[in-house]
Amino acid sequence: MNIIIVGCGKVGSTLAEQLDKEGHDITVIDIRPEAVRRVTDSADVMGIEGNGAVHSVLSEAGIQYADVFIAMTDSDELNLLACLIAKKSSTCHTIARVRNPDYVSENHFIKEKLGISMLVNPELEAANAMARLFSIPSAIEVDTFERGRIELLTTRLPSASPFVDCQIKDVLGRFSGKLLICAIERNNEVIIPDGNTFLRANDKISFICNRKESSNFFKKAKIECNSLRSVMIIGGGKISYYLAGKLCDYGFKIKIIEKDKERCEYLDSVFPGNVVVINGDGSDRKLLLEEDLYNTDGFAAITDFDEENVMLSFYINSNFNIKTVTKINKLDIEDMIDKLPIGSVVYPKNITAEMVISYIRALENSAGSNVQTLYNIVGGKAQALEFSVKTASKITDISLCDLNLKNNIIICCIVRNGKTIIPSGQDQLKIGDSVVVVTTNRNLGDLKDILS
C-alpha cells in the first residue's frame, strides 16, 4: 500500500522501518532535513523535506495515490490539520497522533465530524498497558486481541512451581479450568508447545485463559498472585496522569511523586482523594522509604529519563517484593533490557507503532490477504494472526485433534458469535468463526496454510 508518514520522530521512524519491512511503499515528510535523512538512510523509503500540512508538499509526496496517511509530529494541531488536508486531497485513511487530554476526551467527535479514521495516543495506550499489568500482577506481559476481549498472559514459571518438569498435558490434567499454553520462551527462543512439551524452571510461558481462572492457575503453579492495592508512580507526566486515572477506577490507592511543584498542584486538582501527590525527587531513596515503600504493592517508573527508570526499577526489584513496571522511550537495546531484573517493561513507541500497523494490516485484509489482524507477541518473536473462516474447506467441521498442523503452529482461540472459546481437541471450526493462531512461522497468508 502507499503510505505517507508525516513526522520522523521516534514513532514515525519506527513505523517507517516496520512498514517498509512489510513491503509497503512509504514516503516520509519532515521539516527537519536531518530527520528525513536519518530515516531514508536506514529504510527503503522516499523522503521529502517540508511541512506535512501544506498541500503542495503533500501532492509532491503523491497524496493522490496514497492509501493511508499517518501524522506523527509532536504537535496535535499540526497532525489534525495535516490529516484534514490529506482527507480533502484524496480518499486515503488518516491516522493522527493526538496527545492532549482535552482533545482525547472528544475522540468520537473528532473521528466522526472530521473524518479521521484513527486517533492514537501513545501515552494513553502505554497507560492502558501498564494498568493491565497492575491488575494482573503475576503476568509480566499482557497482549490483547479482538479489541481487548482476549488476553494473552505471559508469566515466568518459578523453579519452586510444581509444574516444573511436567508435560503440558499433565499440567492441564491437574488444573480444572480451561487453559491453553500458546508459547514458551526459553533461552531467548520461542517454542510453540504441544501436549508432550515439558515445562522447565524459568520458562516464560504465554497462555490464554479467562481472568477468573487465571488467578486459579497462578495459585496452582505457585506463582505469586496477591492482588495489588497500592501503587507508587514516579514521574507525573501524561502517562502517569492516564495511569492514575485508570488505576483509580479499579480502586487502587495511588501515590504520584513528581519534581515539578506546579505539575503536582495540577495533578492534585484533577484527582480525587485516593491519589496522593507528592512533590519530590523520585530517585531519592529516603523519600521513597519515607513514603512507605515497604507497604506498597506496585511501582511504576515513568520519568522522562529511561536510564533513571531502569535504575529505579532495578533497585526496587532487587530489594523489595514489589511488582514493577518500567517505561522506556528511547533506549534501543531491548535484548539487553529483557535480561535485566526490572519486572515488566512498556515501550510507548512500540505500542503506538504496533497499533497503527495492525490497523493497516486490517485494511490490507479487506484488499485481499486473509489475515485479519497480526500481532507481534512475546517481544516480536512470535506472531498471533487472526483469520476469519469464510468458506467451508478442509479445516472446517473437523475436530482439531484430527487436523494435521504444521510444526510451531497452535490454534489458541476461536471467537464464535461474540463468545470466546478456548479450544480443546474436540472443538471444530465453523463458518463465520474468527480464529487466532499463534506461530513462529512468518509469512502465513491463509488459514489453509496451517496444515502441513
Binding site: D25, V39, T40, D41, S42, D44
Partner: protein, 499 residues
Amino acid sequence: MNYRMIIYILGLILNILGGCLLLPATVGIFYNENEWKAYFLVAVLSIILGLILVIKKPRINVFYTKEGFVTVALSWIMLSVIGALPFVISGEIPSIVDAVFETASGFTTTGASILTNIEALSQASLFWRSFTHWIGGMGVLVFLLAIIPMSGGHNMQLMKAESPGPQVGKFVPKIRQTAFILYSIYVALTLMEFVLLIAGGMPWFDSITTALGTAGTGGFAIKNSSIAFYDSKYLQSVITIFMILFGVNFNVYYMVLLKKFKSAVKNEELLSYFLIISFSVVCITLNIKDVVYSGDTYEALHHSAFSVASVISTTGFVTTDFNTWPQLSRFILFVLMFIGASAGSTGGGMKVSRIILLVKSSLREIGSIIHPRSVSVVKLDKKRIDHATLKSVSAFFVVSIMIYVASVFLVSFDGYDMTTSLTAVAATMNNIGPGLGLVGPTGNFSIFSPFSKIVMIFDMLAGRLEMFPMLVLFSPTTWKGTGTVIKRRLKAIKRKIAG
C-alpha cells in the same frame, strides 16, 4: 566494515558481468569470428567466480556510506580489469594496460581510445566496446538494484555512490522500482534512437553500437572517422539530439511520464543546460562560419551543434576535427568539458546543477561581504539547499581541481605540449573522450606511456564515480583494522585445519 556484504555484492556484479560478456560472444558466433571464444571463456570464468562469492549469504546486511563507496569503487575497478581480459586473450589489444584503459574508457563512458585502427577489430569486440558504454552509463549497481530484491534502506548507499549529481533522490519509495524506472526510460530512449538511425539508412550493426554509445554518453564509434563516416545530415542530427537528451536529468523524463509538464519544463538545471548549449552553439557558429566553412552558416551550425552536444553531454563522437577550429571555439569546448551534463543523467563532468550551486553560493558570499549580517539561503527549483549539500559541492569542486592538477603534473612527464596534456586529462576525467592537440578528434591516446595511462584510468573511474568513492577506497583510514580481521580469519582457518 561489513566485508562479507561487500564480497557478496562483488559476486553478484561478477555474475552480471558474465551475463553481459555472453552478448559479444554471441555476436562473435553470429559473424563467424574466432574472438567469441575469448569472450565466452571470460564470461564463464566470471560467472564461476561470482557464484563462489555469493554462495554464502551474509548474516548481517547492514550497510553504511563507507561500505557503499568502497563497494562501488571496487566493482568498477573489477569491471574494468575483467572486462579487459577478452581483448588480451584474443590478442586484439595485447598490452594489459592498454586493454584496461580501453575497457575502463568504455565502462566510464569516456570513449577515449588507444587504438590506432578501430576498424581492424572484430565485430564482437566492437560490440563489446559500445556495450560497455551502455552498461556504464546508467550503472551496474543500479542495474543490480533493479533486478535483485534486497531488503533494507541500506542499498540507497550503493545508488548514491554510483549515480551522478549532488543530490541523489528516488522517484518512488522503493529503491528497486526507482532503479527499474530509470532503466526502463534508458532502454526506451535507446530503442528510439536505434529506430531513428535505422530509418535513416544506417546499417543494423552500426545503428546498434551507435545507439548504445550515445545512450551511455560514451563515444566509442566503430569507424576510424567516428560519426563523420556517415555522411548524412539526418543521421548526424539524430545523434546530436540524442546526445543532448541523454545529458538531461532522468527525473525530467519521469515528470513527463507523470504528465507533470510544468515542473518538468521549469526545472532550473534543464533550463541552464539548454541555455549553455545555445550560447555555446551560437558563439562557435559565428566564430567558425567564415574561417572554417567560408560563410556556409548551415554547415557551421550543424557541426558546432554536434560538437557542443558531444562535449557537454560528455559523449565524444566527432563529425569534424574541432581541433583545427579557432582558439575561441576550442576554449569554449574546453570549458564545456568541465561543466558536463546534468545530474541524474548518463553524462559525466561536474554537472550543471553543481555549477549552478557553486555560482549561487559564490554570489551569496559576495553579498555577505557587502551586507555582513545578511542571511540568504541558496535555493534550487525553489527548494532550499541545505549546508551539507553545499559543503559537499564545494568539496567536490576543490577535489576535482586538485586531482586534475595532480594528474596533469603526472602526465606532463611524457613531455607533450600543454594543450595535449591539459585536455587529455580533462577529457578522461570528465568522461568525454577526445581532447584537443594530439589527443584531438584525429589523434588518440596510444601516444602516452603506460604510467600516464594508469593515471588516466584512475581519472576516468574517479570522474565517473564523482571522485569520492575512489578517494575513499584509496584512503588508509578506510582499511584500518582490515589487517587484524584478515589475521584472525587466517588463524581460524589454521585452527580448523589443525583440529
